[in-house]
Amino acid sequence: MPKNFLEIDNVTFAASAKSKVNNVSLTIENEGDIVCLLGPSGIGKTTILRTIAGLEKIQSGIISLKNKVISSKDVHVEPENRNISLAFQDNSLFPHYNVLENIQFGAERNKKKKKDLTIKEVIEFLHLDHVKEKFPHQISSGEAQRAALARALLSKPDLLLLDEPLSNVDQSFKEEIQVKLKQVLTDLKITTIIVTHDSYEAFYLGSKCGIILDSQLKQFDDPYNVYHFPNSVEVVNFLNRGILIPAKVTGENSLESDDLGTINGNFTKRYPKGSDVQLLLQPEDLEHDDQSNLKLEVVDRKFRGTNFIYTLKTSSDLLIPVFVHSHHMHQHEIDEKFGIKRPINIDHIVCF
């Protein structure tokens, strides 16, 4: 018998031929863990949540929750008997009840189960006080999404599934809600799977992240590892946080790039000397140095608040992103030259 809190063993999730994720194996070891699933739209992330919730049946594999099989080829526990809550991305509030009554529906479930979270607290932290007497058609999609989240949280489920929970929420309090949501989920030990397309949200909320691409769970790991040690070119391309440049391995800790020269660091995998590789270069891997003789042309500059991301063009027309702290006094305009500190040292070298 499985000993993990949730175990998905070799399950193919399919709502249609298009929306299909094959042979997924994934475990949530402990109660209270938060897992985020990332992937492009229409890949089947919602189908995974719907299947775990029991709204779709499976043809192969096994899903077990708290050591009990809830879905397999022969077993299908009905959604109402799973004690799993799912907050849909779209408005799924009961249209003939106001926001407060909708939230109370959640609180009605598992009334006897002790969880220190009151309706008032949830309404407060999700900023729903001003709409609690309104009906679903009278509120915005972001407010409806938060109301659905409140209802799901209060239902005290064994497993909480959130489908893009904050996708319609205003940027002004999105971060605040993320912080409080994480705090509540952690304090109450509510095991959660969150589907999102926002990688920052996933990296912040999840203790583990799964990347779904090409109908497969490509990587399931700590957010740090997913970002810094992507296991495939597809994951790199999906996260879009760096580029791959051609290089030649010149030693145990070094490689040579036609555009950037010698690069030193620790390889995450061993490659034979002389082999041609694709080096993952992330914005924070290169350092800016006005005095450097390695100068590249600025083709774009994105201001991100705390930093700038410069896009630089190399001699072979590669576009390289470089992170610069926004307090850096010397700002470079488009077409200007931008110095890169040499020698280039990268803490961990990821190659494919």
């Binding site: 029991g54 009905e78 109402e80 849909f88 799924s92 003939h96």
Partner: protein, 231 residues
């Protein structure tokens, strides 16, 4: 009609208003309950099973509205005479002449065939407004299929139900051929009473039941328009 009712008050006094009214209302209530009940079974069944077969069956079952009432009543009597005899022989019922013919039960059955489309289509359009994710949300809050129906669908559809009930009521109180052929002996409604007088050329006497029929129907139409606005 108002003029005749006023200048011939004797005809109005001769009418057994309480009996006519209660007979009409009994038919309306019974039929509405049966029709709406079965419409719920069929629509919610379709919603749960999403079965093509059930959908085709429902489409077939609503075709009764296209058949004229008198043809439906005659066809029903022909079929039911055989069916009635078979049932009574099977269960050896000797003290009843007929179960369906000349009984309120038979009348309600024919109303059902005739007006099921009203109830079913009305409810279908009501259900179209309830997204499937609403049902799924209820299941995920621990509600069974029945509890979802009782606590989510019924409150949401209450205006639609009222509207369907009123439409059925209006149809039934003015329905003549079926009521005339299928009704129990001495069981009169405003519509049959008006017909009986009119067929005997007693137009002045037919005025009062006709007027009541119009008043009741108008009352229902007024409520209907209120519910349409509300919905």
């Amino acid at each position: 009609m108002l003029y005749w009712t006023i200048i011939f008050p004797k005809h109005l006094a001769d009418l057994n208003l309480v009996e006519l009214f209660s007979n009409t209302i009994i038919l309306v209530l019974l039929s509405s309950i049966v029709l709406i009940g079965f419409a719920f079974i069929s629509n919610y069944g379709n919603r749960l099973s999403r079965s093509k077969f059930l959908e085709i069956l429902t489409t077939f079952s609503i075709s009764g509205y296209a058949i004229p009432g008198i043809i439906l009543a005659v066809a029903f009597i022909t079929f039911i005479s055989w069916f009635d005899n078979s049932i009574m022989n099977l269960f050896e019922i000797r003290n009843v002449k007929s179960i369906f013919i000349g009984s309120i039960l038979g009348l309600v059955v024919v109303y059902f065939i005739r007006f099921f489309s009203l109830a079913s289509n009305g409810l279908k359009s009501g259900y179209l407004k309830i997204n499937y994710s609403i049902d799924e949300s209820a299941y995920l809050l621990g509600y069974s299929k029945f509890k979802t129906f009782k606590n989510i669908h019924i409150p949401y559809l209450k205006n639609t139900i009222m509207l369907i009930g009123i439409l059925i009521a209006i149809e039934i109180i003015k329905e003549l051929p079926i009521t005339l052929i299928m009704r129990p002996f001495n069981f009169e409604t405003f519509a049959t009473q008006a017909y009986i007088y009119a067929s005997q050329d007693l137009l002045e006497a037919a005025a009062a039941p006709s007027l009541f029929l119009i008043l009741i129907a108008s009352f229902f139409i007024l409520i209907t328009s209120r519910y349409i606005l509300k919905d």
